[in-house]
Symmetry: C3
Subunit: 348 residues, 3 copies
């Protein structure tokens, strides 16, 4: 058969490497669309002049745009038959990526575990985005619940990888160039609050809300060449569990990140993903809000220009976050849709 039905759980082998299709040159056109889709305002990603003054070669692509482009490539090989995208861990944005660069992706299967009902199984992969020279620019782990083609098929022995609870901040130094803190203009950046002004335990309601339309998430998800059918096919979705199209979880991450500008304007670079979970689905017509908590602060080795904040950003739908909707034990407030734990670099 010449069409790709996607891989089922029993098609994966522990340790195999999958080279994903469709390399993609990411341009200022993609950056403009990203701005239009999320309204992001971080100054480094918005202005060549600001980025150059700070120390970049020019305005880099938004970290999450890089993530989504890499993630999109993995979908046809990893998650076309996924039931759910379960989580992320140990992600690192290794260096700035600039417009004009070409990205492709490879994944290694690092874990497999059949479900007890034998109809699905969890596939753990480490996916890596590489540039035109093959050098990595992003690496992360994710795990996803994938259907079996045949419940009776034999599954390999369970292997669950040992993933860190959080990325060590000492590993994050190269992810952004030396920043000229004296040239960093807080009025242009949108906030006077720098690294020293944030305290562990502090919580920030990002206030603004963003309603999502079908056309928006479809444009975004196609931009990332993400082919998961659940995002695009309303005809088939009528007979699905939710009765309608599901919004790509990464769309929520980018919305939450853009909303977080209001309170975290100087956290200009996402350096690492500690963990991430799509707690509940988002649908068109829903309005996304977000709040963040500062989980930790760390120096970067040899860097006096910037520090890194460990931030937990929680997104909720159809409920402003002034009351910080959260998790209680294992249960989440029903409004919560995303629970994301990451390191962001902030100027001192």
């Amino acid at each position: 058969m010449k069409t790709d039905p996607g891989r089922f759980f029993e098609d994966f082998r522990l340790g195999e490497t999958l080279r994903h299709a469709t390399p993609r040159t990411v341009t200022t056109g993609d950056a403009a669309l990203y701005a239009a889709l999320y309204g992001t305002r971080f100054a480094e990603q918005s202005s060549d002049a600001f980025a150059r003054a700070a120390g970049y070669a020019r305005s880099p692509l938004d970290d999450w745009l890089v993530f989504h482009v890499v993630f999109g490539k993995t979908v046809p090989d990893i998650s076309l038959n996924a039931v759910a995208n379960l989580g992320y861990a140990d992600g690192r944005f290794l260096r700035p990526v600039y417009p004009g660069e070409t990205l492709s992706a490879v994944s290694e299967v690092i874990g497999l575990k059949e479900s007890s009902n034998r109809e699905t199984g969890i596939v753990y992969v480490r996916s890596t985005g590489v540039d035109a020279t093959g050098a990595p620019v992003l690496t992360y782990c994710r795990w996803v619940l994938v259907r079996k083609r045949d419940a009776a098929a034999l599954a390999p022995d369970a292997h669950v990888p040992d993933l860190p609870q959080a990325v060590e901040p000492t590993a994050l130094g190269a992810s952004c160039p030396p920043i000229d803190a004296a040239a960093y203009d807080p009025a242009l950046a949108g906030s006077r609050h720098r690294f020293g002004d944030y305290a562990v335990g502090e919580r920030i309601d990002h206030r603004d809300g963003m309603t999502v339309e079908e056309a928006e998430h479809q444009l975004a998800t196609r931009l990332y060449q993400n082919t998961a059918r659940v995002h695009f096919d309303a005809h088939a979705a009528k007979d699905s569990r939710f009765g309608r199209r599901l919004i790509y979880g990464g769309h929520v991450i980018s919305l939450a990140r853009a909303l977080s500008f209001n309170g975290l304007a100087n956290a200009f670079h996402v350096a690492a993903i500690n963990s991430g979970r799509h707690v509940a689905p988002l649908f068109a017509g829903d309005t996304v809000y977000a709040w963040s908590a500062i989980l930790a602060k760390a120096d970067l080795p040899g860097r006096s220009d910037v520090g890194t904040l460990r931030i937990r950003t929680v997104a909720a739908k159809n409920q402003p976050c002034a009351a910080f909707p959260d998790r209680t034990g294992k249960d989440y407030d029903p409004a919560v849709i995303l629970d994301l734990d990451y390191w962001a670099v902030m100027v001192r």
Copy 2:
């Protein structure tokens, strides 16, 4: 508090200067999106080859794209707590802006006047868009009705600035380069009608209609990094005066300008804004039509290549403009949503 609640009326001081956040490098990606959002067809802004033959360095950005990017930056500091955007005056597009340039914005508070009910006040600002060297590319005044945080707060003495009814056309000479009228190809430009063919008093129904979708105005308004919540948050809008999201008034201006191509194809450059008023709100699902009247004609000093038309463009919703819906005294036809008076440069 680290999040920005926006300024209230009593936070403004006459004469103060506000440097706005988030400089923005505007690229061909933004120009492509602008084309997709409005379908603009003015040849200079569409074709590098046409623009170079006419006398530009390359195809400049649409004047209103430049305006919206500058306007967007002013929103967090000026109009986040606005009740209504009341008007524009004395605007000048000072030179062509090209893809790759970085824009930022500053505003001076030039007037303040508390409302009689003491719950709001009018803030008058002169906003200026500047390039990466700090040189101005656009300047305009606007006034906006802003809520007070506290009705009991003392307000400064009223000061209403003296704004001109119209910009003097003698000031507009530098806003476009010398145009090689002989090289200006009317077939490519889309009309044989040049400056000499328009008469003061002439009215033009632009005929075409454009229906606006929620995704479209949201994409546009985010592209401009305009953060006014009323455009994006359907959840909060349910409890608002209109019960739904409001479309950014600038979106209507750009739609009307694009529609005006059909009748004003050679009016390739907006040089000045004399006055502008958003007469009524536009909502998704509405269809925009427009008509224009030629209010005046003027030579530009020392320029035999181009002249300038003072144009009044009126936009209406859900009513074609063959009957020229208009103002009678102080009352507008209920279909009218925009009344804009500007100078446009046209080839002779």
Copy 3:
């Protein structure tokens, strides 16, 4: 009158040449939007690095993006008063077009035939897209049913041009550069199936479905500067035959082409249009599916790197194509919306 009411059937003269308005520089911004609108994944059009390795100067624009931009220019002069776009024939994509090039268009009237009811007539044109030097990059014929201004007006003698059933593949050699088949990486391209793997008569269900939103087709059609009112004016459409906006037929072609990646990933270049017909209209909310049949295979003279497949792609709405909905005699399955016959180049 300064506005353009469009031409009616009796305004066309056999043999006349129409130079169309609004040249357009097509950029990486347009390419990004095209990706977002259709989710296309052909590697040459996606990656500069892949395209260069294959033999292109850089990633070329998608062939159908070039087509739509050229087509859009013809609309104000040819089809503003069209009742229906009847068909395409003898189309050739003459060379790769790269971001940064400026396209304009001319059309020659090659046939005219009044309808028996005298209220409309068929206009046949050959339209040619040219680059900034005036050299052609695309040529195709289309015919369109155009209203008469006045049913009583005299019509010219009928002249129906003699159009080929299919383009001779021997004419297609120059449409893509020599491809380095050894450097062509099937994993990156997304399929191991090359020219030799396809058999005449083979049918492929492309599986995936794509639902179209109003905002999406409007953004696309404006991007192409296509001004046909039926796509944009919901207010006027209420009183039309269909009661709502019609989606530009070219949007369906691009959706079907993007869907066809799943099964035809290595058919990286559309070289010729043999024939095309929009069988039924598409409306927002509908979901598009597609299937293809291999009609013929041909060598390109002097080319051992690539061969060409004659492909018939059929698109259907709201019905997956596992059962290959088709034509029986003159009647189509009611789900079918597009029947397109073209030559595509595939690596050997």
